[in-house]
């Protein structure tokens, strides 16, 4: 239904030649890749379990070239998948085999740092961390910090509404973007917002943020910069029981403290991280809490005292305050490297991204442990405890026949559990290709249909990132047939086949 695009390669090869010829007319040779060996690096994003060779790759060097690429693709009805740094974890930049992959990586200039207005205007290929580095001489930084911040680019951050470990206090990407310029599917350049706090009319900026390349191609971003906190201090608390750690988080929030970061790790994650980076984590603990307080010197001193007391009162077996910044960064190194650390334990791991109401954490972890036993696949959990975003990491071996399929099924069950307790299937990684079936669990047909109506507003022919983010009702009906829970079929109103 959404995908009316004509195939580029095998069945309709005559599309390919004229398109390549038209692209060659204005793209430098290094900006157009057509041969299989050149296309190979683009076959997947950070979710490497899904791979597909794109039909073509275009790497425009400026907005005008990107416009012309889009105009030609619209004319030839060729699907376009936009790609930033390719660090996404949901297959959002997975190529279309008979489409064009539009890499924005050559649009990588910082256009302006405006210290007095506290904004940075950058091209989409600029790395997340590079913005903070450029702002640092002015005592400013860009707050959202996904774990991949040294590599991920801001265009992708906006397209996915990326998060990080400081979201409870500083928000997601959507809270830190002031303006964008994007190209419509026809290549028209549209400016939304700017160095402003609002724009007239509908909040299209919010709609475009997190739209996963389905509505337009982002070619420029203006972000808000914040003053660097005067001081940051980290406290680590160990628990012999996950429930106590959960209660401690609630107690900190109830006391009116919003920590800059508040992270929880379970025992398998603690052991893996300690083994990898030697952060000094207590390896026998059932859970650790990592709480970072930032702000003015006085604020941090006050909150630190309060938090230490709350942690001790909540039954922590150990409470440790980082003695200096080096130790604070060591505390964080364990958490920030938790994914690769777990990755050392098994040939492959699969990272999930559900969000749950925080109070349901003990129950959710109990049920994940049960599912882990049922599927005979180990699971380690890291948790953005402040905002309820849970990252279960499933350990598996893709070379064992059937293990990837079992892993995906277990992952799907975990996401459905998140929806069941009032949460969501994705907190910050996006739906992409990966969670498309679980969208059928989270949304009803009328809601999915409303999403499709929004999509048609921007992209009537369904050329932008087809098949991602929002499933067709057709697909949900098929998925529903596979997942019959308690004898009840989801989508009873739909025809089955």
């Amino acid at each position: 239904m959404m995908n009316t695009a004509a195939p580029l390669t095998s069945e309709r090869p005559h599309w390919r030649e004229p398109l390549v010829r038209a692209l060659r007319a204005f793209l430098p040779p290094t900006s157009l890749l057509t041969e299989a060996e050149d296309l190979r690096p683009y076959e997947c994003d950070g979710l490497s379990a899904y791979r597909r060779l794109p039909g073509l790759v275009a790497l425009p060097e400026n907005i005008e070239q990107a416009q012309r690429v889009l105009r030609l693709c619209a004319e030839f009805k060729v699907p376009v998948v936009a790609r930033g740094a390719g660090t996404g974890l949901s297959g959002g930049a997975l190529p279309h085999e008979s489409g064009l992959l539009l890499s924005l990586s050559k649009l990588n200039r910082i256009l302006e740092i405006d210290p007095l207005n506290r904004t940075a205007t950058v091209q989409p290929g600029v790395r997340n961390l590079a913005i903070s580095e450029a702002a640092a001489p002015h005592g400013l930084y860009y707050a959202p910090d996904p774990s991949s911040q040294i590599a991920c680019s801001i265009g992708g951050n906006v397209a996915e509404n990326a998060g990080g470990v400081h979201c409870l206090k500083y928000g997601l990407t959507v809270h830190n973007v002031l303006g964008i310029r994007f190209l419509t599917v026809d290549g028209e350049l549209v400016t939304l917002g700017g160095k402003l706090l609002d724009a007239p009319g509908y909040d299209l900026l919010a709609l475009l943020t997190g739209s996963e390349g389905m509505l337009g191609v982002i070619v420029e971003v203006t972000v808000k910069l914040l003053p660097k906190p005067e001081r940051a201090q980290a406290v680590l608390a160990a628990y012999d029981d996950l429930e106590k750690a959960g209660a401690a988080v609630a107690a900190i929030i109830a006391a009116g403290i919003i920590p800059g970061g508040l992270e929880m790790m379970d025992n398998p994650a603690i052991r893996a991280a300690e083994d990898f980076v030697h952060a000094g984590y207590p390896v026998d603990a059932a859970a650790i809490l990592l709480c970072e307080l930032d702000g003015t010197n006085e604020e941090v001193s006050d909150a630190l005292m309060q938090v230490r007391e709350l942690l001790l009162a909540s039954g922590a077996t150990e409470v440790r305050t980082a003695r200096d910044d080096a130790e604070r960064l060591r505390f964080w190194a364990g958490r920030k490297n938790a994914f690769p650390a777990v990755g050392r334990l098994s040939p492959d791991y699969y990272c999930m991204d559900g969000t749950i109401p925080r109070k349901r954490l003990p129950e959710v972890l109990r049920r994940i442990a049960e599912l882990s036993r049922e599927y005979a696949l180990p699971v380690a959990n890291v948790f953005h405890a402040g905002d309820g975003n849970l990252h279960p990491l499933i350990l598996y071996d893709a070379n064992k026949p059937g293990e990837l399929e079992r892993t995906e099924e277990l992952g799907g069950r975990i996401l459905e559990l998140c929806v069941e307790v009032g949460g969501t299937i994705t907190g910050e990684h996006g739906v992409g290709m990966e969670k498309i079936n679980q969208m059928c669990v989270q949304f009803r047909p009328a809601e999915l249909e409303q999403f499709h109506a929004v999509k048609r507003v921007f992209d009537p022919d369904g050329l932008l990132n087809p098949g991602k983010a929002v499933p067709t009702l057709h697909r949900c009906a098929e998925f529903g047939r596979m997942h019959v829970h308690q004898g009840k079929l989801p989508f009873p109103e739909l025809e089955r086949f």
Binding site: D198, G388, T424, F458
Partner: protein
Amino acid sequence: MPATDFSRELAGTVHAARAARTPLSIRGHGTKQFCAPAMEGAALDATAHHGIVAYEPTELVLTARAGTALADIEATLADHNQMLGFEPPHFGAGATLGGTLACGLSGPRRPYAGAARDFVLGMQIVNGKGEILRFGGQVMKNVAGYDVSRLMVGSHGTLGLILEASLKVLPKPPHETTLRFEMGADEAILKMNTWAGQPLPLSAACHSGDTLYVRLSGAETAVRAAHLKLGGDVYDKGDSFWRELREHARPFFQTDTPLWRLSVPSAMPMLPVSGKWMLDWGGAQRWLHTSQPAADIMHAAQQAGGHAQLFRDRHQIGSAYPLGSAIAQLHQRLRQAFDPDAILNRSARDNVVAGNAAAPLPGIAHGRRG
């Protein structure tokens, strides 16, 4: 206890209105009529659909029906030492959550804490087809599907009737102090923006007359340290100053001259338009009483990289802001995607569309993100 959940009835009314092709004009308690264009059709009163549905202080999340009085929500939050972070104006007794979100209104804390849309986690709405739809949720992080709930904020009921919203709430700062400094507007713009780039517990900054008002919020020790650093005189009527500013109850607003709202980069020096100015939001939101021609004001705002809207005029209601043609077309098509027959809050702008689909659509009057 009388029933307070009327979602089915409200959806049924919209459904029936669509079948009969008769428009509906959504109404709360009518406190913000000045900021919406004249609407056609029978009134759809949403106030009976009220009540706080869920509130978890330790999760920082509150869910309430659209007809719930803002004052009730604020009182409930205050019992737990919490508040709405965007400090919304009420503009009259009985202001509802639905009207506040539909207008996308935010108060003095906005530049430092966030706008109405920033605190919306999820919504239940009725679209123009009479379908009850749910987007977002009750959790802080949620990127499943397009962000329809934030799109609803400031859309003036033209995309759907808000039934219920879940909001992130914040702890009340333990201490607040307002400081006053005597200085002119251009010096104040420089100060407000310089300070906002330093790690200070700022929560509001406004220049009016010859005075700069700055509010500090946070731990008492932090507020005291910041006061020492900034200087200035403690203003003991700070609380009422910010409330009156938020509610447009300051003497500045009590005049018959048309009131304009300009949204510009916060550090932009004073604009060359004569009239009475008041700078809020650290310079990002500027109020102007003037009788200068609209075209001059809009031109000055555009030159400054921003936009201007006629906010209030006793002789006419609000003004439409001209949007660029690509954006105008997106507006028109989005309106159709949610409300194909323009049943909800139909106004003159829809007739423009009906008359000539290619004509640029005037923007929503005061369609503010907050």
